[in-house]
């Protein structure tokens, strides 16, 4: 006999439950958590290094590096004197909250003000997964092209800020900045856009000032 059973159950309920638990722990400890989303090679690690440089005097920072296999990015962060935990997703295309919980368990949350998560390089899969973060920020680099908001609307829509990196390469690529800003604003009308050069330092001030305001607010 066939029977209909109503469920009304969120598909990602396990991920969401752990994310909520993490969010409560972060709030309790006064830690601000940033989830960085971007394509491979867009400058996530470079942006993290520049951000640490700008904020390390005021805040205690740790980094969680999500990578499909290697630990080279975590080594770069550690070389700069910052705590870094490596998560290897073993082929998975995004981080999930259970992976973050394991990484957080080895960190001293009470000592920290900021945790930066470098998500797996991918503009699609990470957008649907809550990690318990305070903000998702996406990085697009100039060589990827100004049409990316039209190809990957989801990530632009869920982001609390957009970083346009490798601004120094704009003369080389025919990147239409006006077109880019207008398509981002149609997807996410209130999102701030920070144009930076992570490796040269241009524009990093405005980005880190925005971030610092939010870290201070999380400490209250």
């Amino acid at each position: 006999m066939a029977k209909h059973i109503d469920m009304k159950q969120p598909i990602l309920d396990k991920n969401d439950a752990i994310a909520s638990e993490l969010r409560a722990r972060f709030a309790e400890a006064g830690v601000f958590v940033l989830d960085l989303l971007a394509s491979p090679g867009s400058g996530k690690t470079s942006t993290i290094l520049a951000t640490i440089d700008a904020l390390r005097d005021e805040f205690n920072i740790a980094v969680i590096e999500g990578d499909i296999a290697s630990s080279v990015d975590a080594e770069k962060i550690k070389a700069q004197g910052t705590a870094a935990v490596q998560i290897n997703t073993g082929g998975a295309c995004h981080l999930e909250s259970a992976m973050i919980r394991r990484a957080v368990d080895v960190l001293d949350l009470d000592r920290l003000d900021l945790i930066i998560i470098e998500n797996v390089g991918n503009l699609v899969c990470p957008t649907d997964f809550d990690l318990g973060e305070n903000a998702k920020v996406m990085i697009l680099s100039v060589p990827e092209g100004h049409d990316k908001p039209l190809k990957y609307p989801g990530v632009f829509q869920v982001s609390d800020a957009v970083i346009l990196n490798k601004a120094d390469t704009m003369p080389v690529f025919d990147f239409d900045e006006e077109e880019f800003v207008s398509s981002v604003k149609q997807l996410n009308p209130r999102v701030p856009i920070f144009k930076i050069s992570a490796t040269k330092g241009d524009g990093v001030d405005a980005w880190t000032a925005w971030l610092a305001d939010r870290i201070r607010a999380a400490q209250l």
Binding site: I5, M7, I11, L12, T127
Partner: protein, 122 residues
């Protein structure tokens, strides 16, 4: 893509609910999926078929996916409007201060199961 991972979670939940009801077999699953999420209907179907294959509990089950179109509310004028994935501003007052109220769903709505006949007689 992460449809396989998503579908694995769906199948676990469906099996738990079906077994809890005393079912011998799953006949169907119905999902609601918002168009603003990254889950693609075809890939969900593909993952579902792959996971059902060779598992007697799931063999022959069907997947129904209800795609939910995006909808937002304007925080300035209060109007509610449907839109595509790319344009979020209010068509009534052109405000950019809008809030998404539908389109990010990822939910198991219901399942259909096959109960053994002796259950039926009770």
């Amino acid at each position: 893509m992460h449809e396989l991972g998503i579908m694995t979670g769906v199948m676990d939940s469906a099996r738990t609910a079906a077994e809890g009801a005393g079912a011998q077999r799953l006949l169907g699953v119905t999902l609601s999926v918002g168009e603003m999420t990254e889950a693609i209907e075809d890939a969900l179907q593909f993952a579902f078929e792959a996971l059902c294959e060779g598992d007697p509990f799931f063999e022959g089950a069907t997947l129904t996916v209800n795609m939910i179109a995006p909808k937002s509310r304007c925080l300035e004028c209060g109007c509610e409007f449907a839109h595509d994935r790319f344009h979020m501003f209010c068509p009534a007052c052109d405000s950019f201060a809008t809030q998404l109220i539908a389109g990010r769903e990822l939910q198991i709505d219901s399942i259909e199961v096959d109960l053994p006949d002796d259950e039926e007689q009770r």
